[in-house]
């Protein structure tokens, strides 16, 4: 499963709220408008750490904060590259 697919799948699981209208996930969607609140984004990052063994926020996550899902996914893809 690609990093992108894992990110999408985790967001879908965390944001499940019955009866609440949720936007369709696209790469251009800002992460904070994906239906995840502050806690939800933190849970996403924790689950990705468990799943991928990566936490890019521990090192460079706020040098250039990711806004869209594309930027968020790229942060993980870059962190997964062997240096």
């Amino acid at each position: 499963m690609s990093i992108r697919a894992i990110v999408y799948s985790e967001i879908e699981q965390i944001r499940q709220k019955p009866g609440k209208h949720l936007p369709q996930l696209t790469d251009d969607l800002p992460l904070v408008e994906s239906g995840l609140d502050s806690l939800g984004v933190a849970i996403l990052v924790t689950r990705l750490e468990d799943n991928l063994g990566l936490d890019p926020f521990a090192t460079s996550g706020f040098t250039s904060p990711p806004v869209t899902l594309r930027e968020f996914i790229r942060l993980y893809e870059d962190a997964a590259q062997p240096s």
Partner: protein, 468 residues
């Protein structure tokens, strides 16, 4: 001669002496209150006189309604117990009993509040109606703030107007002038947000409040529309704001962080995003009040602040930061919670500090409390909820480091039957989470549950906890 804020009778008295209230506003997501309208009107229908001298629970859903009520009731109520939005309805009866509450002010439907008894119920609304203000006896109102405790009921911390405004009196003139528009990501019904509210209202400014259910993008758009000049939140609030495409819409001159450890990464990110802003982080707690502000853009605080004589005195005992000042709360409302300060007047913040060179850095909490985006979670209260599941023998809750919100709640659970089938294990996890969802606000729900065969018990017979 300048009159110190704390010698004036009430917020309302202070406002009525201030010029320019017709140009000053409290802006919420769904409405606004002009301060001069509030001086000549009321948000409480015709009920203000009936509330005089009472111990009042303020349980409004809308922050703007709560803000208007606070201005009206200071100096009128004997006590205002300010209920933050995450206090569960099952906790309300114990708050009412312990605080001797005899009136409730709320914008909710009467059926929404789970409380019985002989209580005066008054509906509040941010829609201000004109009203004549009759002279009334002045009360030195007690302001009671609720914070999380180890037990299921919140701790009640008593402040006075004098302790609440003490840090504001000494703050820089740049925060008090006309034209200052404060904004905050905090809720004003907690200490951090209440400080911003008082700074705006008593310092000739206006204030943009957040609104329940509002997206961060919409909030930032409103902050920008009202040309916010001073903006305050926790590091977690700010991280979230920086991840919004609207972060650039606001252009504050002053950026303030408090409520959590401000690490160098978030300080650098904010300074780079808002290059023309002063980025300041402050240390405060509901119990000890505002202790200091750090303006040099670096994480931690200068060791020169320690041991200094003055309005705020600080020292370290057993690695924990202790503070003595006139900004501290006066007491716990419930005597069962013990004394707030030691016999020399120092409040133990429970925040562990470490000195490296000429700076101190925060390292976590001595009592194991988890700071989730500025909200305290005591492991014991989460464990008590998990342990209600009949299959659970015992559990321990710990902090899991998060670079976005500081800490998250994680649980290790020891089951009565040690090796459940995997299907049963998944069902149990789901059931435990359901119990947590029903009984705890979202930030207290474990993000991970791990099965463990055993948990260490110390010689005291208590769970062995590894604290900071």
């Amino acid at each position: 001669m300048k009159t110190p804020l704390n010698r004036l009778n009430s917020i309302r008295d202070r406002l009525s002496k201030a010029a320019g209230c017709s140009d000053r506003f409290l802006w919420g997501g769904r409405g606004e209150v002009c301060l001069s309208d509030l001086l000549q009107g009321t948000s409480l229908g015709g009920w203000l006189r009936k509330l005089a001298g009472r111990s009042i629970l303020l349980a409004a859903r809308d922050q703007l309604a709560a803000a208007a009520v606070l201005i009206e009731l200071d100096g009128v109520a004997r006590r205002i117990v300010i209920c933050p939005p995450d206090v569960g309805s099952e906790q309300i009866p114990s708050v009412i009993a312990k605080a001797g509450v005899n009136a409730i002010v709320s914008d909710c439907e009467p059926g929404d509040l789970d409380c019985s008894g002989d209580l005066l119920r008054v509906r509040c609304s941010p829609g201000i109606l004109p009203a004549e203000r009759e002279p009334m006896k002045h009360w030195a109102t007690e302001w009671v703030l609720l914070t999380s405790g180890t037990a299921s009921s919140p701790k009640m911390i008593v402040h006075t107007m004098a302790s609440l405004v003490a840090p504001i009196e000494t703050s820089a003139k740049s925060m008090k002038g006309n034209g200052v528009v404060w904004g905050t990501f905090y809720d004003i019904r907690r200490y951090g947000g209440l400080q911003v509210f008082l700074r705006a209202v008593l310092g000739s400014g206006s204030l943009v409040l957040s609104s329940e259910g509002e997206s961060v993008a919409d909030h930032l758009a409103r902050l920008s529309a009202h040309a916010v000049t001073h903006l305050s939140g926790t590091p977690s609030h700010w991280r979230r704001a920086l991840m919004s495409p609207r972060a650039g819409a606001a252009a504050p001159q002053y950026v303030r962080l408090s409520g959590e450890i401000a690490d160098q990464a978030i300080l650098n990110a904010l300074q780079s995003f808002y290059p023309n802003s002063a980025v300041v982080h402050a240390f405060a707690s509901t119990e000890a009040g505002v202790a200091f502000e750090v303006t040099d853009g670096l994480a931690g605080f200068p060791s020169s602040l320690m041991g200094r004589r003055g309005e705020v005195e600080m020292k370290v005992r057993n690695d924990s930061l202790l503070i003595r000042s006139n900004r501290a709360a006066s007491r716990h409302l419930d005597p069962e919670n013990g004394n707030l300060a030691d016999d020399r007047g120092f409040v133990d913040t429970g925040d562990i500090v470490e000195r490296i060179g000429d700076r101190y850095y925060f390292r976590g909490r001595s009592n194991g409390a988890i700071n989730v985006g500025g909200l305290k979670v005591y492991p014991e209260e989460v464990e008590a909820v998990i342990n209600r599941h009949p299959a659970v023998r015992m559990s321990i809750v710990r902090s899991r480091r998060s670079h976005l919100v500081g800490g998250l709640v994680s649980a290790e659970v020891c089951l009565k039957e040690l090796s459940p089938e995997s299907d049963t294990a998944e069902t149990l996890k789901r059931e435990i989470l359901e119990i947590c969802l029903k009984n705890l606000p979202p930030h207290k729900i474990p993000v991970t549950i791990q099965w463990v065969p055993t948990l260490d018990v110390a010689a005291s017979g208590k769970l062995a906890r590894r604290h900071a």
